[in-house]
């Protein structure tokens, strides 16, 4: 029966085919199901980028609904427009095809792009939920305040951070020099290699020696640890002798005579604070920095740099004294200094800073709203009020006079920080009640001299602008 032979042989071949197709289907399932995610997210796969491009990127708004960034179609090409050019370059950031993104554009990308890979798992049903435009991100920044701070800085390098004292909302975050986010892709090479580092957000990521601006915290620690009380007087000037020939001088080698803690703040006495630091010792200083949250990780909706603190266990007597006046190797960002000032203006409560107020759907429905949160209770209500009143007096009759605005209560502390890059950095931190909003601020102008002379007028200008509003 040869006929059956052929049938038998054909059946064997059919079996081979079945095995081949089982292998094929197995491999296909492996590619589409198990390897699916890894292929989808492979950077060489243009599909997610295409999808993001086909969805119009959402807007970024300031707190008064002014558009900081938006996308528009121009001749089939989608363009990201930043109408305020350099003003929000380091806070709102940029987004580019080949250069990635930074700022809010980066941290809020999943909201702005409108692409949700979880929905992708649903297959074709994704289309039911997919949006044609990304969500709107409404920031806490205020264009008026931001602009005022930018203008007030002039052409100096540095940063201004202004927070709402009660909530922690960031009202202004300026870093100069900046760049134009509209042309960042074209100028990428030049920007990246610019020695002035315009791409660095100095306000949240720049680290500086705090100088005398740290003194309110040292004063609080000294009161807490009982090395001084509010009435005790110390003979100050012209220098603090560390022994073995090292001396810490008052600014301009002034002599203040017997002064109390309040006058020490008002005059920003180096001799007094060097002495207090030495009395508190390494452990006392370390505890103070811990209490004020400098060792705590700050997780918020923008990128920031934690402080660099001294290794307190290894400090010499001279370095301990330097910590008291904000030198040694302390490095702190303007944001953290503004938070420090806010604690004294807010009964000892340091609020967690945040920049994204709301996420809105393209139609305007609120999808997510940030609520203020306490970052840390750093000191008692009494001590906070005491230190704050000292700082108010510094503005009324001390080194912070240049910030004074008639009829406005301002508490401030100047700082003039020595550094290894040239002239001193000028600092001014503090709080102010402007109409119904209490603001906290930190200003640093790099290598520009005395804090009282250079940095304090910046906040005066900002407050005056805020008063002129409406």
């Amino acid at each position: 029966m040869r006929d059956n032979d052929i049938n038998r042989n054909m059946l064997r071949i059919v079996r081979v085919f079945i095995v081949m197709f089982v292998v094929l289907i197995g491999n296909l399932s492996y590619i589409q199901v198990i390897k699916g995610d890894s292929y989808t997210n492979n950077p060489l796969n243009p599909r997610i980028a295409n999808k993001e491009n086909s969805t119009l990127r959402g807007d970024i708004l300031d707190r008064n609904n002014k558009k900081i960034a938006y996308s528009q179609k121009e001749e089939n090409k989608v363009k990201r427009v930043y109408p305020y050019s350099m003003l929000f370059a380091n806070s709102a950031g940029y987004v580019g095809k080949n250069i990635g993104s930074a700022g809010v554009e980066q941290t809020e990308n999943s909201s702005l792009s409108g692409v949700n890979m979880l929905l992708h798992q649903l297959g074709p049903l994704e289309q039911l939920f997919a949006a044609e435009k990304g969500n709107t991100v409404k920031l806490t920044l205020d264009e008026n305040i931001q602009k005022a701070a930018w203008d007030a800085m002039g052409n100096k390098r540095g940063a201004v951070v202004i927070l709402n004292t009660k909530t922690g909302a960031v009202l202004a975050m300026v870093s100069r020099p900046a760049f134009d986010p509209n042309g960042v892709e074209e100028n990428w090479q030049a920007l990246r290699t610019d020695p002035q580092s315009p791409l660095l957000n100095r306000a949240a990521q720049g680290l500086y020696p705090p100088g005398s601006a740290i003194k309110p915290m040292i004063a609080d620690a000294a009161l807490e640890q009982g090395v001084i009380n509010t009435t005790e007087k110390i003979n100050c000037g012209p220098y603090y002798d560390l022994g073995n020939g090292q001396k810490i001088y008052e600014a301009d080698k002034a002599v203040y005579g017997n002064i109390n803690l309040e006058e020490g703040i008002i005059h920003s006495s180096n001799v007094m604070f060097a002495g207090l630091a030495v009395q508190m010792g390494d452990k006392g200083l370390e505890n103070a920095f811990k209490r004020f949250g400098f060792y705590d990780e700050l997780k918020t909706d923008f990128t920031q740099q934690n402080a660099h603190l001294s290794d307190f266990a290894k400090l010499s007597r001279g370095e301990t004294a330097q910590v008291g006046i904000g030198q040694a190797d302390l490095l702190i960002s303007p944001l953290r200094m503004a938070m420090l000032a806010s604690a004294f203006g807010n009964q000892g409560k340091m609020m967690k800073p945040y920049m994204v107020d709301e996420i809105l759907s393209p139609g305007g429905t609120t999808l997510q709203k940030n609520s203020p949160a306490v970052f840390k209770e750093v000191t008692t209500q009494d001590r906070a009020n005491t230190i704050n009143s000292y700082m108010e007096n510094e503005v009324l009759k001390g080194t912070g006079r240049n910030a004074a605005v008639k009829g406005i209560t301002i508490a401030g502390k100047t700082g003039t920080a020595e550094n290894s890059f040239g002239a001193d950095h000028a600092w001014f931190i503090g709080t102010a009640q402007v109409k119904d909003e209490k603001i906290s601020f930190a200003i640093i102008l790099e290598n520009s001299g005395f804090g009282g002379a250079e940095a304090a007028p910046v906040i005066k200008y900002v407050i005056n602008t805020m008063l002129r509003e409406d």
Binding site: R12, I13, Q32, Y39, Q121, G123
Partner: protein, 420 residues
């Protein structure tokens, strides 16, 4: 039950209409008279052809044509999605293909009589394949095309049928000789050389020409066809052993001599070495399949146009992206169902030539799908070959329909005989 079955087999005809509706929702301007006429015609054609064939051709297999219509409607909607001009052209090829299929069925008596002249079939196939060397034009890196006026055709597609005819009739006529090995070559049992020389010569020449034309897909397909058919007739493992040895030597030789073969193999071994260059196609194919996942992105929601020449070699990846694993499994199952229905025809044949020919047609179609599907999914090195009834292309569509015409004619014949 019978009623329900009939209706179910017509459902595939709705696909072009649904696809056009989805397209229309996205873009109103697609609703031109021409497009609407073609869509309507396609829907009617895919209902009418299976029904009419059952009505007018007695004892014809009732499942194969609806399944083919499903593949054709998949092809049409993918062309619609990829490029409107391909949609029009592909519809034209489907219509011509179906006409050709009915003509083949009508003239099947005369055509099948050709099986009595194996050497003529073999010679014709060599001439058809070889004609490309003389008249051929190089398109897309392969010397596979003959251009006559406005038409381009790929003779290799048509030579498939001739080679199948040759194999079926030669093997059947010489099976006694081939089955009675009287020579011991080591552990191999083979008949005298003169009995299987014509087979080796015709098959070897065809293979060499394909390699020379850089048509690796067909080289692989023809190799597989010959192995399959020879085994079906002889079940002599010595042939398989020889073929495998030959395949290894030929592969090694091609790898050393032909740069294009070497490139294919290198890409297959490590596509991630040059994912944006030589391996771009296969890497993007994997991305498409992976992005599609289990359910697919949905019709029109993927980006299959990223893959170069997606409408021929990589049409399967486009289906995988937009219809997901579920969609491609449906396509694969359709091929398997057509294959099993065809094998059933082959089993029921009493005429051994018909048996071998129908088995060859079914096996070739399945093998061809496997070669391109496995290439698209990086299971084997990629060789450019069409996916039967789905890839864009006139030659492929026409030759597949002709093959199916022969198969259906045989089925009608054998069923008729069985009922006598």
């Amino acid at each position: 039950m019978y009623y329900l079955k009939n209706k179910t087999l017509c459902l595939q005809a709705l696909l072009p209409a649904l696809a056009m509706l989805i397209f229309y929702i996205r873009d109103n301007s697609v609703a031109t008279t021409e497009n609407l006429v073609i869509t309507t015609a396609a829907c009617l054609l895919f209902i009418a052809v299976p029904l009419a064939s059952r009505k007018f051709i007695k004892n014809i297999d009732g499942y194969i044509l609806p399944l083919i219509c499903f593949l054709c409607s998949m092809s049409l909607i993918m062309m619609l999605r990829l490029k409107m001009s391909l949609f029009h052209a592909q519809f034209r090829w489907i219509v011509i293909g179906m006409i050709l299929m009915f003509l083949t069925i009508y003239f099947s008596e005369k055509l099948l009589r050709l099986l009595d002249y194996p050497y003529i079939l073999g010679l014709c196939s060599i001439i058809v394949i070889g004609s490309v060397i003389i008249f051929g034009t190089e398109i897309g890196g392969g010397l596979n095309w003959i251009v006559i006026g406005p038409f381009q055709m790929q003779p290799a597609e048509f030579s498939k049928l001739l080679i199948l005819g040759f194999l079926a009739s030669y093997l059947q006529e010489n099976q006694n000789m081939l089955n009675l090995p009287n020579r011991h070559w080591g552990f191999l049992y083979l008949p005298p050389l003169r009995f299987f020389a014509p087979l080796v010569v015709i098959w070897g020449i065809a293979l060499l020409i394909f390699v020379y034309q850089r048509n690796l897909g067909f080289a692989l397909l023809f190799f597989g066809m010959a192995m399959m058919m020879t085994y079906a007739v002889t079940s002599n493992k010595s042939y398989i052993f020889l073929a495998v040895v030959f395949f290894i030597i030929a592969s090694f030789f091609s790898y050393m001599v032909f740069a294009h073969v070497r490139v294919r193999v290198i890409i297959w071994l490590n596509p991630w070495a040059d994912p944006m260059g030589q391996a771009y196609q296969i890497v993007q194919s994997l991305f498409a399949l992976g992005y599609g996942g289990l359910f697919g992105t949905g019709f029109f929601q993927g980006s299959p146009e990223i893959i170069p020449i997606v409408h021929t070699d990589f049409i399967f990846s486009a289906i995988g992206e937009e219809f997901g694993l579920i969609g491609v499994l449906a396509v694969i199952m359709t091929y398997l169902l057509i294959f099993f229905r065809s094998i059933k025809i082959a089993f029921s044949c009493t005429n051994e030539k018909y048996k071998l020919l129908s088995f060859g047609i079914a096996g070739t179609m399945l093998l061809q799908s496997f070669i391109i599907l496995a290439g698209d999914t990086k299971l084997i090195p990629l060789t450019g070959i069409t996916l039967p009834f789905i890839s864009y292309g006139g030659s492929s569509m026409l030759s597949e329909f002709m093959a199916m015409g022969l198969l259906l004619a045989i089925s009608a014949k054998e069923n008729y005989r069985a009922r006598q």
